[in-house]
């Protein structure tokens, strides 16, 4: 039954309905002192006038479910399926407010009209004209800098769990990498490459003006828009925090009208994208026997597997370890919001719940989120706003990646599962785990993958509260003073327990059991006092912004570890039963005092000039460098406003922009400029030594060198951009060129070690990034089938200009577990002056020696079938002089292609995204293809006299090798003994094109859903459905070592990215 019918036909229902409307309208009762408004509630009982009308979009289509309300009252209705409405109003009603989600709000003065037809404009177009920029908003046409903007309404059409994933492929110059696929997993965002070597390269995230936000705990449904500030003119206003770009997130506010309820629900499943190609039990058993037969230096050894064993495997199959640890992970997402506004108060309350099970057994993630945004116009010249956001995340996943940094890879399920022999069962006949791999073949010493996944208790809790308030005064026309205070308070409680059935727990000292609690509080307080003056005189438009700001960050962290548990049950919950408890804590504080100003000047909407200046005083800088200064200037010329261009009738927009500015990176840890005695060693462990020789170790304090002149890393950036619109705005293109030079990079300066120190951190290096970004958007079809599409393309080139006294810095990755591609003096990832970031160094593999090459092989001390290495300098030896660049972790370019196709009530959204020209070092293959232990089918393709065209070396009998009486090998021993595995063989092309997201939606017609529901959309969606890549690992979008960008590009025991399928509904009423 329709609402207007209700009103007419059933008086009791009418009263009930009215009471409901009044109830919801109550908080919307205007805050004005005007008594007439209050009286309106009572007048509402007497309808004296009936107004009818129709609400349509700009193209004339009906807007069913639009809200029509008498301004200042709770009286209202919604339009029917044809966009029509009938509303009885009091005769003194003055204004109708008509609103619809995604469209602008219109106010119509009633006067004597009884028929009111209204056309609403698409909100998106309106919004695109105003950009949120740092400390304010600006008309897009006046903006001089480089910015990428993504609207929340676009995101809503492509469901995803994380807002940062939404930037992938959509914003030119922004590279988003899902470094692992665990639920609630990690993402790195790099805007225009990486500026810093040892500092932070993450963009500053500002949520509604509050700096230091985090995408992880942001509910994507709450986002109104995301703007990415890329060039220095845009980011210099953030001074010492602006060098890596700034991401501004604006959350949704209530819109004028009665309350709008929105409920969103989706349910889905995740699936491993692909399995690694591994041998079955029979193949493995045979291969193992084949290898064992070659170990005959002291006479033949009996085979590992008997023919009976092998017959058994053939009959019963073996263990598929990948199947044992991977599953289809279910997820569901609920989202409910209520929003609305009167002319004085707007409000939005939104709650979300995400429950996700990962594709690895025993991994899951839950997120609860709540947001409340309230704005109140106190009077005509002052406004008050309050925004609260609270999230709680609970996540767990068995340890993966980063090698020994987390848990030794021998105990990481994602790394060991493919390595375990298919001949080994998960459990023995009695049902107990086979904890360690049987020795002598396969992944000896490594830990049962299923036990490694199921037995660790991991619970990571993060609760984040964000509060942001402001008072804004507009004492004079054009002048506003905004005083805001905000805080981000984050509490982390991570619990881990590795029991005696886990690698870490069994190897704990004292043994068994290893319990860890990490507890931390991070608080960031920000006070911003902003004065803005906006004046238009004739064709001159000037905006002046001045800000005094202060930020204080306090961090407290506690870490406790207990080992030696008699009882595995209580574990981390009972530190009292641990034989040994150790702990550490830290308290740090950093302060930033800032003053900044900006002037925007626009003449005749044609010429725009922006200049900004920021002074940052930071506590972490050295005593001589407490203050840093960050200027910027930029200019734009809207050529399309010139008559000459206008007359061409070609461009709807043509704008040329140019900017310059300096930004900083203050990612120096506090207290580095002070001499210290530290009891914490480089790995973050308590430094202890039992000096007395009694039972327990005592604290040991060691001097740390002060670096008293430290200052910010500074980036100078030039940007030139061109915006062009054609065909009346149906096609818009933007091209940006930039060049950034970062100097004063924080690097270690070597000290003579006789001083007691080896190096101290100093501002030494410099680095360059330059690139091009292109975005094109258009609406190729605008008829019955509407197609809008957007393409982004970005290419960045980095170059290390100076590393201080060094020409190379090697970046080691803590693998452990015998992978041997990163040791001192033998690091895969190296940073070299004159070379780009992300370069991999190693030995070239040019296949294997063929039988016809026996004589040449002999000169290297090798036999046919042995690995043939590239002798770069042709000196007949394979040694360190033959090292060369074998891979590049960073792509030559990245691209994204978004499409939306609308037909009647159907919508199809597609996001295709990818990278080109990047490599991954497939670290897992080092062990998966190791002779005598590997499980990879690559070993089936090993060299034999019949199969010589392969890069997998032969299994050669020791006796044959001895009999060949070869000269001593000229290949360095580390290559022969596999203690240096930096081989080009493991470097793979990781370019990919991926159907990142495809969503098919259907808006149920009003005739089905009735008028009480304004929108009901059902959709099916898939993420990562299709990926085209040559990469052989689980997924080309991965990176295992992310604490420094110079370590990117290694795939090692990581949690694979999954495919996701979802079904959802989106309901608005």
């Amino acid at each position: 039954m329709r609402m207007n019918e209700l009103f007419r036909k059933n008086s009791r229902a009418t009263i009930c309905m009215l009471l409901m409307v009044m109830y919801f309208a109550m908080p919307v009762v205007p805050a004005s002192g005007n008594t007439r408004h209050r009286l309106n509630v009572f007048y509402a009982m007497a309808f004296e006038k009936v107004i009818t009308g129709r609400v349509t979009g700009e193209d004339g289509t009906a807007l069913p479910g639009a809200t029509v309300i008498v301004k200042g009252t709770g009286i209202g209705t919604t339009t029917d399926s044809d966009g029509r409405f009938t509303l009885s109003v009091p005769d003194n009603a003055e204004t109708l407010v008509i609103s619809f989600v995604g469209y602008t709000v219109e106010e119509i003065v009633i006067g004597t009209q009884t028929v009111v037809n209204v056309t609403l404009r698409d909100d998106q177009k309106t919004l695109s004209e105003v950009l949120v920029v740092g400390y304010g908003t600006q008309r897009k046409s006046d903006f001089v800098g480089a910015i990428s903007s993504v609207k929340g309404s676009e995101l809503a059409l492509l469901p995803m769990q994380r807002a940062d994933q939404a930037l992938q492929g959509r914003a030119a110059g922004v590279m988003v990498v899902n470094t692992d696929g665990s639920p609630g997993g990690n993402t790195t965002i790099r805007i225009r490459g990486s500026n810093s070597i040892n500092g932070n390269n993450s963009a500053l995230i500002v949520i509604d003006g509050l700096q230091g936000g985090d995408f992880k705990s942001l509910n994507p449904n709450d986002i109104e828009s995301i703007e990415v500030l890329k060039d220095a003119s845009a980011t210099a206003i953030y001074g010492s925090q602006g060098a890596n770009g700034v991401i501004l997130v604006t959350t949704k506010k209530g819109r004028t009208g009665p309350p709008v309820f929105n409920y969103n629900f989706s349910i889905g499943a995740q699936q491993l994208r692909k399995k690694l190609d591994l041998m079955n039990a029979v193949q493995f058993a045979n291969t193992t026997n084949d290898f064992r037969a070659t170990q005959d230096a002291n006479g033949p050894l009996p085979p590992r597997f008997t023919p009976q064993d092998i017959a058994g495997f053939a009959a019963n199959g073996g263990t598929d370890w990948q199947n044992e640890i991977y599953r289809n992970g279910a997820m569901q997402n609920h989202q409910l919001s209520i929003s609305g506004a009167s002319d004085k108060v707007s409000y939005l309350v939104s709650g979300g719940y995400l429950d996700q099970k990962g594709i690895v057994i025993n991994s899951a993630y839950k997120r609860y989120s709540l947001r409340a945004n309230v704005n109140v116009d106190i009077n005509k010249w002052s406004t008050f706003g309050l925004s609260l956001a609270a999230t709680k995340e609970i996540g767990n996943a068995p340890p993966f990646g980063e090698g020994a940094g987390i848990v030794d890879p021998l105990g990481q399920t994602t790394g060991t599962a493919p390595r375990w022999a298919p001949t080994v069962p998960v459990r023995d006949a009695l049902g107990a785990y086979i904890l360690q791999h049987p020795s002598g073949y396969g992944a000896a010493n490594s830990w049962n993958p299923v036990a490694s996944a199921l037995e660790p208790v991991v619970e990571n809790n993060t609760a984040r509260n964000m509060i942001n308030t402001f008072l804004e005064f507009r004492p004079l026309k054009g002048l506003s003073l905004r005083i805001s205070g905000g805080a981000i308070i984050q509490n982390t409680n991570n619990y881990r327990y590795f029991n005696s059935l886990t690698y870490a727990g069994a190897s704990a000292a004292p043994s068994p059991g290893d319990a860890q609690v990490e507890s931390g509080t991070y608080a960031r307080y920000q006070n911003t006092n902003q004065l803005t003056y906006n004046k238009e005189v004739g064709r001159h438009h000037i905006t002046v912004t001045a800000v005094a700001e202060q930020t204080i960050q306090n961090t407290k962290n506690y870490l406790f570890r207990g080992t030696g548990y008699a009882d595995d049950i209580t574990g981390v919950n009972d530190f009292g039963s641990a034989a040994l408890v150790t702990g550490s804590s830290s308290v740090i504080k950093r302060v930033l005092n800032s003053y900044l100003g900006r002037v925007n000047y626009v003449f005749a909407s044609k010429y725009a000039l922006t200049a900004s200046y920021r002074a940052d005083g930071s506590s972490v800088f050295g005593a001589n460098n407490k203050w840093g200064y960050f200027p910027s200037v930029g200019a734009a010329w809207s050529a399309s406003e010139e008559r000459v261009i206008k007359d061409l009738n070609l461009f709807s927009t043509l704008k040329l922009r140019g900017t310059w500015g300096i930004t900083g990176n203050q990612s120096i840890n506090p207290y580095q400029t002070i001499a210290q005695l530290t009891s914490i060693d480089g790995d973050g462990n308590a430094n202890k030594y039992p000096y007395d020789g009694l039972g327990s170790s005592q604290p040991a304090y060691i001097l740390a060198v002060p670096a008293n002149n430290l200052k910010w890393e500074s980036t100078t950036q030039y940007n030139v951009g061109l915006d062009a619109g054609f065909f009346n705005g149906r096609v818009n293109a933007t091209v940006e060129f930039y060049k950034k030079t970062t100097k004063d990079l924080l690097l270690g300066r070597t000290l003579p070690s006789l001083t007691g120190y080896t190096s101290r951190i100093d501002n030494l290096g410099s680095m360059q990034n330059k690139g091009i970004e292109i975005s094109i958007a258009g609406n190729p079809l605008i008829g019955e089938v509407k197609w809008s599409t957007g393409l982004t393309f970005s290419a960045n080139r980095s170059k290390v200009l100076n590393l201080g006294e060094l020409s190379t810095i090697e970046f080691r990755t803590t693998t452990g577990g015998g992978y041997n591609f990163s040791n001192s003096g033998r690091a895969l990832m190296n940073l070299k002056v004159g070379h780009p970031l992300g370069e991999m160094t190693g030995y070239g593999v040019v296949g294997t020696w063929g039988t016809s090459e026996a004589e040449v092989a002999r000169t290297f001390g090798q036999l046919p079938g042995d690995q043939k290495f590239e002798d770069v300098n042709k000196d007949g030896k394979i040694d360190a002089k033959d090292l060369k660049v074998i891979g590049q972790a960073l792509p030559k370019f990245i691209f994204g292609w978004t499409n939306q196709i609308l037909y009647k009530n159907f919508s199809l959204n597609l996001l295709i995204q990818g990278t080109y020209g990047n490599n991954l070092f497939n670290g897992g293959r080092v062990r998966l293809e190791a002779p005598g232990e590997g499980t990879s089918t690559a070993l089936l393709n090993r060299w034999t006299p019949q199969n010589q065209d392969t890069d997998v070396p032969a299994f050669t009998k020791q006796s044959v090798r001895t009999a060949a009486a070869l000269p001593s090998p000229t290949v360095t021993a580390r290559l022969l003994s596999r203690t240096d595995n930096r081989l080009s063989r493991y470097v793979e092309n990781a370019s990919y094109i991926r159907l990142k997201n495809i969503t098919l939606g259907y808006n149920l017609p009003a005739s089905v859903i009735g008028s009480r529901i304004s929108k009901l959309r059902v959709y099916v969606s898939a993420a990562n459905l299709l990926t085209i890549t040559k990469y052989n690992g689980y997924d080309p979008e991965t990176s295992s070592f992310n604490n420094n960008d110079a370590r990117a590009g290694i795939d090692f025991s990581n949690y694979p990215t999954a495919k996701t399928y979802m079904f959802g509904i989106d309901l608005t009423f």
Binding site: A31, S32, G33, N379, W381, S382, N445, F473, P475, I483, S507, A509, P510, N527, N529, A548, E549, Q550, L580, V587, I588, V591, S618, S619, F621, A623, K626, P670, Y671, T673, I674, A675, Q676, L677, T678, S679, K688, Y689, P690, Y691, D692, G693, L694, G695, S697, P699, A700, Y701, I702, L703, T750, P752, S753, L754, T755, G756, Y757, T758, S824, G825
Partner: protein, 499 residues
Amino acid sequence: MNTILNSIGHRFKTRPLFVLLLICFAGCEDLNEKPVGIATPATFYNSIPQCEAALAGSMSTLWGWYVAPGYGSGDGLSSWFSNDDQLEGGDLNIESDHASGLWTAHYKALANINSLLHAVKNGSLATYPPEEIDKIVAQAKFLRAFNYFYLVRMFGDLPLITEDTPDPVNTPITKRTSVAEVYDLIVSDLTFAMTTIPSKTDLGGATPGRPTSGAAKGLLAKVYLTMATAPLNITGNYAKAASLAKEIIDGGEYALIPNIWEVFLKSNKYGSEAMWSFNSSEDDPQTDENIGKPDEIDGYGGEQVAMYFDTTFAHQPRRDAYLLRYALEDNAPNPPDTILYTTAFDTGLPFIRKLYNEPYITLDEGFGGSSANWFILRYADILLIYAEAANRVNGAPTQDAVDAINQIINRANGTTGKEAVATIGMTMQVFEDKVIQERSWELCFELGDRWFDLIRKRILDKAIAANGLPTALVNFTPDDYLFPIPTFDAKTIGQNPGY
């Protein structure tokens, strides 16, 4: 609600200037850092426990280099003492970064010790009685002497930094001090320590890991013996070494552990033979027993014993106690087990059993960390110092000297008698050769002792030749008696010849 908002609005409306004053709240928070969670040298060293924590820190910096990676092991290319004739792999191609990690670790330890001595000298402990202050200063000096003793033998002339040296970061050191002057400081520090630190008996086992007067005396005896040989060759110091060693022997505080299998037992880490060591404890076990163990039993497989060392080692129980020659079965009691290293281990070479610590250790324990100590000085060394020094002083073996070395030999032989004992009838040279040989066996793999014997006796080439290592002999030059100064430091203080 309306009323409140109205009144706020009204108030602001009437006093807009008041609003503008709010901006003045943005006062500056102090930009000077005042850390509460970290200690700074300006406020530290104010109590005895703080000073001990700094001394613990100085040991801790070395510990990793000598014990955690273990004897002879380095990270990557440099096995510090692999060029002696005990370990496999040395070829006397000593690279420019050889032992630079040890240089760094010792100087780091010295920086911590000197910082403490500097603070104490300036009265940081003024509230303590002078004898308490002396005790901590004496321990610091003991540790300083220990560090310089190792440095001066490896690197020769040294940058000599004491508590009076200006901060070397801001006042760079450009010159090295001669070996003789370095020894002057070592002797002076140890003499002070020897007479100030309480003895093992005085401590009564309360703090068994700390330096004692006995340890200081023993170290000084070793210092004198070294000074009596190359490069200083102050032969007068033989007498001083002999006399100090004799005092220790006669003092009765120390004695050999009778059973050769029990010398390196964890339970004996503060036993009768222990004089001073790198300490390890149950709650932070750092001695790494995987070093010197083959891959087959979860070891790192890196430090292999040269095969000739095993074959020429007297075939006595000590050989099996100190060398890992068999694949051990679980909970293996004593060798001989069945399979010798030539076939048991992939490398075909024996490994080091001393580091393995427990003959009865269960193999499941083999995850690395061990709470065993790693001896820096033990009584067996004192007996051999005495034997060598007394022989020299007398020009021939004395009965006491013979008795001293025979204590070692008899324990090593058990009941086998496989190694001939020393006799009073030997010539000085024959006896001395036997002592040096005995040191090689008894003190093998202990903090480079063999290397230091080879260089102080200038017999590196002879030892290599005798042991049939032609590839190493080709590379021998007298420059090998000193390690290179680390490259970066050498830029300002100069390099040793040959590098």
